[in-house]
Symmetry: C2
Subunit: 206 residues, 2 copies
C-alpha cells in the first residue's frame, strides 16, 4: 500500500497518531450510521488540551472504473442529505472493521463495482491504490480510500444496487466529458473530485 510522505512536516512526530493523547471521549449520540463524541485531546506540539465534537463513521472506498477504451464509469445516485441526484464514481463503506486490511478494501471495491455499476475487472485488469483522504477533517473521522480499476467491462449480471440504494443508472463518459462535468460543477461529490485530483497528480489522466 502507498505510504504517505511527510517531508513537508516540520515536526516529524506530528503525524504519529500515537502522539495524540485522548484524555476523554464521551459518546453523546449513537445509531447504526454514526457516533457523536465529545472529546478532549492533547495535540502534539501544543500545550493546552482541546475539546472537540467528533463524529465517528465507518471507513469507505471509492473506485474510478476505466474501460479498455479509456471511458470512466459513473453512477447516478439519489443523495438524500443534499437533496440531489448526483453523477459519481461508485463508492461504499467497509463493513468489517475500523482498520480494514488492504484485502478488505480491495474486496469492497470489487463488490461496489459489481453492485453499483454492474462492472468487473477484465482478466488482465487490476486495482491501483491512490491513497486515502478525509472528507471533512474538522468534523468527522471518516476516511475514504481511493482506487482505480482498469480495465473494466460490464459483467454478466448487470447492476444490482442493494435494497437501500437509490441508483437509477450508470453511464460511461470520456475524459473530456468527465473534465467538463467537473469544470461546470455537475460533479459535486468529494469522492469523485478527490479521485480525479489524485489521478491527475499521479499522471494517470492528463
Amino acid at each position: 500500500m502507498l505510504q504517505p510522505n511527510w517531508k513537508h512536516g516540520t515536526q516529524s512526530f506530528v503525524n504519529d497518531e500515537a502522539a495524540w493523547v485522548v484524555t476523554r471521549s464521551d459518546i453523546l449520540f449513537r445509531n447504526p450510521h454514526l457516533e457523536v463524541r465529545d472529546e478532549t485531546v492533547l495535540i502534539p506540539g501544543k500545550d493546552r488540551p482541546r475539546r472537540w465534537t467528533v463524529v465517528g463513521r465507518k471507513k469507505a472506498v471509492v473506485v474510478a472504473p476505466i474501460t479498455t477504451e479509456g471511458r470512466f464509469v459513473l453512477i447516478h445516485q439519489a443523495r438524500i442529505p443534499v437533496r440531489r441526484w448526483l453523477w459519481e464514481f461508485p463508492a461504499g463503506q467497509v463493513d468489517e472493521s475500523r482498520t480494514p486490511s488492504a484485502e478488505q478494501l480491495r474486496q469492497t471495491v470489487l463488490r461496489e463495482l459489481a453492485e453499483e455499476a454492474g462492472y468487473e475487472l477484465t482478466t488482465d485488469g487490476d486495482l491501483t491504490y491512490l491513497g486515502h483522504y478525509f472528507p471533512s477533517q474538522g468534523f468527522t473521522d471518516e476516511e475514504n480510500h481511493l482506487f482505480v480499476a482498469k480495465p473494466v467491462r460490464e459483467n454478466q449480471v448487470g447492476f444490482q444496487p442493494e435494497h437501500a440504494e437509490a441508483i437509477s443508472q450508470h453511464k460511461e463518459f470520456t475524459l473530456d466529458e468527465l473534465r467538463s462535468m467537473i469544470a461546470n460543477s455537475e460533479i459535486q461529490d468529494a469522492n469523485t473530485l478527490a479521485l480525479f485530483a489524485r489521478m491527475v497528480a499521479a499522471g494517470i489522466v492528463r
Copy 2:
C-alpha cells in the same frame, strides 16, 4: 455565481430541490457544531419513501491563494477528528445563514485568508468562484464553496488564527510541489483535493 449545468441528468426535474418532499424530520441530537436528524424523504422519480439519518452542518468556503509568482499558500493545521496535522488550503464556516449570499461567501473567504494565512488580495487581485461541492453527500448536508484568490500577498498584520484554531504555520508551494504532495497522499483533505480538481478541469492549473 456559477450555476451548475445538468445536461447529463436524464430527468430534468431531479435536481430541483423543491421536488424533494421531506415528510418527517426529527432532531435526534443537536449542539453548536452539528444537528443529527432522522428524516423521511420522497425522492423525485422514486415511489417508496426513504428514511435516512442526516447530519446538518454550516456551509463553508475554501480558498486557493495564488501569489504573483504562481505559488500556492497552504496552512498547517491540527485536525482533531483525524488526529493529524495537515497541509490544506485555508477554509472556514459561513456564520451568517443557511443560504449565504455571494457577498457573505466572499467576505468569509477574505476573512479566512487573512486570519488563517495572513494574506490578502493585491490591489488588482480578484476572487474566482469555482462552484460548490459536498464533502460527504450520503451523510451530511455540508456544502463547501470553492474560490481562487489571485494574486495574493502577505498582509501587514501577519497570520492570526482564532483562539479556537490550531494552525502552526503557512507556507508557499510551487505547482510542482503541490502536485507532488497530492500524488504522494501528503494532501489528505477533501477541500484541497476538490479545489485542485476544479482548477485543473477549468484550465487554471495544468
